[in-house]
């Protein structure tokens, strides 16, 4: 059959490469539209992957688990599914030519970042942590691993990051937004009969690695109130917010709010106030921050409850731990 006619007359068959639940609404939509060829997931043992696999299994959707040792089997699988197009959601696979050859409309990465910034596995975390107010949904052409050029951007759309967004809330919003965005992309792909135009990546690039443990510690000597609040919500709840050290005891800070409060020049990290209605307030570099929600081995508490339960008093000082430069 002529490929162009296939595009016009039949629904595209899309294979989704996914590692977590962000892809679920998109997979669901593709399945309902009869466009889902199948889903390829990894063999990683992590909660998100497990949740995704459970959902696929529960809904009777076609999927296979990818293992690096079985890479050679994927092209065969794609041929069996008669897939036209591949969409990869943060998938840790290097697409080689033999795989791409099976997808006559190509494969595309679905990014949530203003490329070329925030390239890596945790773009949402670093964008929230850096106080970005807007992100970008982007569809980037996958080039074969042997090709040194990065694929161009086929379509992009901005998405506001709310000042109260946590990692989880933003991820949920992205997940809900993606089906519409992907739908628009497929429509466009059909309209232009596969002849997409691409914008090349330009501007300063940066990475978005998986945060290491030291990245999660608050550095009171240098971080201001807004940076601490951003750090807490960036890690909420995926990474336990951020980490405060009181003596040698780590405490997870899940939510914090910059406040105007006199600190009388005490060291950053010093607890300045504990009490209603203001809450637990700590001096920062050039300001003060309210510790709204804290957690530890015993559970999740409001700042005041935590302070009372663990006998934390005004005048105590959180230790400074320098993180990633």
């Amino acid at each position: 059959m002529d490929k162009t006619n296939h595009l016009r007359n039949l629904p595209l068959k899309v294979v989704v490469f996914a590692t977590n639940t962000v892809a679920i609404p998109t997979i669901n939509q593709l399945a309902q539209q009869g466009r889902l060829a199948g889903v390829i997931i990894t063999g990683q043992l992590d909660p998100a992957q497990y949740q995704l696999e459970s959902w696929l299994h529960h809904n009777g959707l076609t999927y296979v688990k990818y293992d690096s040792a079985e890479t050679v089997e994927i092209p065969t699988q794609l041929q069996r599914w008669e897939a036209d197009l591949g969409l990869a959601f943060s998938f840790p696979l290097s697409f080689d030519a033999s795989l791409l050859d099976q997808l006559h409309l190509g494969a595309f990465h679905v990014h949530v970042a203003p490329l070329p910034k925030y390239k890596g596995p945790q773009p949402l975390y670093w964008q929230i942590r850096n106080g970005e107010v807007e992100t970008t949904l982007a569809i980037q052409k996958v080039e074969a691993v042997s090709d040194e050029d990065e694929g161009g951007i086929a379509m992009q759309q901005s998405l506001t990051i709310d000042p109260l967004d946590t990692y989880q809330s933003l991820e949920n919003r992205v997940a809900q937004q993606l089906p519409l965005f992907i739908g628009q992309f497929i429509e466009h792909l059909q309209e232009v009969q596969g002849a997409l135009e691409f914008n090349s990546l330009s501007g300063e690039s940066s990475s978005a690695p998986l945060p290491e443990q030291t990245d999660l510690y608050v550095d009171w000597s240098s971080m201001n109130s807004q940076q601490i609040a951003n750090m807490a919500r960036a890690g909420n709840a995926q990474f336990g917010g951020c980490v405060l050290l009181l003596g040698q005891t780590p405490i997870n800070l899940l939510q914090a709010t910059p406040v105007v409060h006199p600190t009388y020049g005490v060291n950053p990290g010093t607890i300045c106030h504990i009490g209603e209605p203001e809450g637990v307030i700590v001096a920062t570099h050039q300001g003060a921050v309210k510790l709204d929600v804290l957690s530890g081995a015993d559970g999740v508490f409001s700042g005041l409850s935590f302070a009372e339960r663990f006998q934390i008093n005004a005048g105590m000082e959180f230790s400074t731990v320098s993180g990633r430069p």
């Binding site: 000597s221 006199p262 600190t263 009388y264 020049g265 005490v266 060291n267 010093t270 300045c272 106030h273 504990i274 009490g275 209603e276 209605p277 009372e308 008093n313 005004a314 005048g315 400074t320």
Partner: protein, 434 residues
Amino acid sequence: MDKYKTETLLADALADSTSPAICTTESAAITSSLNELLRRQLSQNMPVPPEPKPDTEQVGLSESLIAAVEEILSPNTLDRSTLDLKLESLFDQLHELYVSADIDPAARKRQFIGKNGLVMSPDHCVTTQKDSLRVRAYMRAVNRAIVNSVHQNDGPLHIAYPACGPFAPLLLPLIAYYQECGLYDENDLRITLIDMQQGAVASLQMLVQKMKISGFIDEVLCLDACDYHPSKPFNIVVLEAMQHGFSREGHLAIARHFAGLMQPNGIYIPQQISLSAVINTGQREYVEQWQNRKTAVCEANMLKDVINERVELGEILRLTPASLRDLPEHKLDEHFTLIECGEVVIPALKEQEGEPLLLICTRIHPDEQELIGEYDSGITHPLADLQVFINFEPSESKPGDLVVRSGDKLKFYYRLNGLPGFLATLANGNANNG
């Protein structure tokens, strides 16, 4: 009262009194009769008040107050265990009243750093009443000041107790004792209690009522003691407001403020606070000196060996009513006002096991006869300055660290704002303080 009978009486009487024929005189007479009738009726119908039973709460408090203050003022040699027991009993009485009083829990728990220092929560302040050697020394000094001044003064003695906390523990039991024993009355003593915490003020108002000493109390004020400007100067000021190493709370700022609010011959209690710098290892000072010993932790029980091992650097600040008015002050910016203190030289140190620590030691003289020595109280435990490293480098350098060597001269400053306390610097200005 029998409501029906009273209403009938009233109706009958009013029926007469509202007759238009009755003149004013007659009306007055009837009113008088009515009142008399009502009184009689009421007296017949009112339930007989029960025989007054002893108020066990009141009796318990009175007994504890008298027992504790008698023990404190006793001319006999200090009996620490008896004193501890009696203050514990007094504390139990006061604490029961405190927790059962209608005081907003939020007001009891609030704690913060104010412009002149840490303001502890009322809940955290109450245990001062049990700090026996502190309470004893202060109360004996206050009593002595009152006894010596009360009859030499024209009119009552005006006493201020700023930052007094929820129990005003160094004064209120003494006043209650005077009241119980009839020693002095409100014509002799007029007291002003001041605290920043609403919870403390609510507690003080409740205790004043329970102790039946409201006649003595001029005011219970909820404000920062440094913002207080009375209309007349005080004869006696009682002030504590400090933590160990003369740190964190606003004693010095309040003391300087009240130094200007006293009569020329006024008595400031404590009469003297001496702060000195010494060097010792933490292991010897805090651990080995006290472990496996059944004696109480106090200056009298310090080990001679440990005292001899200490390297005394010298006094860095001495506060007296006179010196308070004359402390050299350096205002660096809106947050930093420093008081210039003494200098000491670090001598050559003998090899010791463990790293040498700079300790700030406090000795408080409430008056000439009383002393709160090192370790006698929570506020006179030596405080180690963990940011000063003597003859060794810290494993991890932090902002504010100061590395010094034998032969260096240390210049001390006292910070007045935020969290007050001593700040050690190198006297030659080459402070290696990160």
